[in-house]
């Protein structure tokens, strides 16, 4: 269902935003009426996003699967009550971040590479040779390990901004903090990440 497949909220024009809002209302109404295909569409659209966010935030595949499962259960339970105060995407991001926080209080994040297991295909440069690939894999590993050392509030802000590419306004809505706090957390997170990367060549 292409009508509600859109880019970032900030980039979407007014007409696009209205079209998306209509499509989301329709989806919610269909789910409330018991149409199982509505949830299937939502899952197809957002499962990759939820899993990636959970993986980057939790740092482990099993933890990410647990988080993603719980997120979609919550969506299934509460979607009928979604009133459109934000976009569905923002709402789902918020649920995911909250679930990651809950899970984070039970598990200590561990560095994991999404190349480690059966994650499916990831985008690689076809022109890169084996040495380049090994070097890049090592670099990605360093970045991922550095990310897991950050305090959760910095990690959340950086993942939402630099991996999920949300606008500051969207991050503010997802994290439930003012814009100034978002700006500050992203800046401090980047500074700490830079220090970590420089400290571990």
């Amino acid at each position: 269902m292409d009508a509600w497949v859109v880019g970032n909220g900030a980039a979407a024009g007014t007409a696009d935003a209205a079209r998306v809002a209509d499509a989301e209302r329709d989806l919610v109404a269909r789910h409330a009426a018991g149409d199982g295909s509505a949830f299937d569409e939502l899952y197809a659209r957002f499962s990759g996003m939820v899993y990636q966010l959970a993986l980057r935030m939790s740092g482990g595949r099993e933890e990410a699967l647990d988080v993603a499962q719980e997120v979609f259960l919550r969506i299934h339970r509460h979607l009928a009550g979604f009133r459109g105060g934000s976009t569905l995407k923002t709402w789902i991001y918020r649920i995911t971040v909250n679930q990651c926080r809950s899970a984070g209080s039970r598990h200590r994040p561990a560095a994991v590479s999404i190349d480690d297991d059966d994650q499916g295909p990831t985008v690689v440069d076809p022109s890169a040779g084996p040495e380049d690939l090994a070097s890049r894999a090592e670099f990605f590993g360093r970045v991922e390990r550095a990310l897991t050392t950050l305090a959760p509030e910095y990690r959340e802000a950086l993942v939402l901004r630099d991996i999920e590419e949300l606008s500051y306004e969207e991050i503010s809505a997802v994290m439930g903090v003012p814009l100034g706090t978002v700006r500050s957390r992203i800046a401090r997170g980047r500074e700490r990440l830079r220090i970590q990367l420089e400290a571990r060549p």
């Binding site: 499962s47 699967l65 499962q69 259960l73 970045v143 800046a187 990440l193």
Partner: protein
């Protein structure tokens, strides 16, 4: 801007999230401050490192099957449709007969559950009848045999009357069962 640029402004400038006034001020300062330029470069590298991480565009296939099981368990936990154990029942009957089948099964369970069993004393039989009654007093519990929880207020008058007749019949049976056994 004579003092060094605050970290949040340097970082925000990379994202294009500054106001035009802030952006102009930061750009002017950077031209003449190697320290702030170096700091900005470090932030830009951290930003680029995260953006270059491999992306995961789809969830593992296992998530969908886990979710299916979790949804079914969730429905049962919330007293909703227990797809797993009523599915066989629904498949057994055409839709039009499923309701009658359910009521028949309910009546059968009622009788089997409460008829005194030879060898048990009257006290045990009375306790069993009492427990059965408690179960039946909740229409929701009985109607859930059909795989759906229907609040008593939503139960159809016909279904309710049928239930009440079944219960009265059970009372009559139970009363006669109180007579001394041979």
């Amino acid at each position: 801007m004579n003092r060094h640029v605050p970290l949040a402004l340097l970082s925000g400038e990379l994202d294009g999230e500054l106001t035009p006034t802030e952006a102009r001020s930061v750009a002017e300062h950077l031209e003449g401050c190697p320290g702030c330029r170096a700091r900005r470069t470090g932030l830009a590298e951290a930003r680029r490192a995260l953006r270059e991480l491999p992306r995961q565009d789809s969830a593992p296939i296992g998530l969908q099957s886990r979710l299916r099981v979790a949804k079914a368990a969730d429905r049962v936990a919330q007293g909703g449709r227990a797809v797993g154990w009523t599915g066989w029942w629904r498949r057994l009957f055409p839709p039009a007969l499923a309701g009658a089948g359910t009521w028949g099964m309910a009546a059968l369970l009622l009788v089997l559950h409460s008829v005194p069993v030879r060898g048990f004393d009257d006290g045990a039989a009375a306790r069993r009848r009492s427990e059965t009654w408690q179960r039946l007093e909740s229409y929701e519990a009985l109607l859930s045999l059909d795989g759906q929880v229907i609040p008593a207020s939503h139960a159809s008058p016909v279904a309710t009357a049928r239930l009440e007749r079944a219960v009265r019949g059970h009372q009559a049976l139970s009363g006669s069962a109180r007579s001394p056994r041979p």
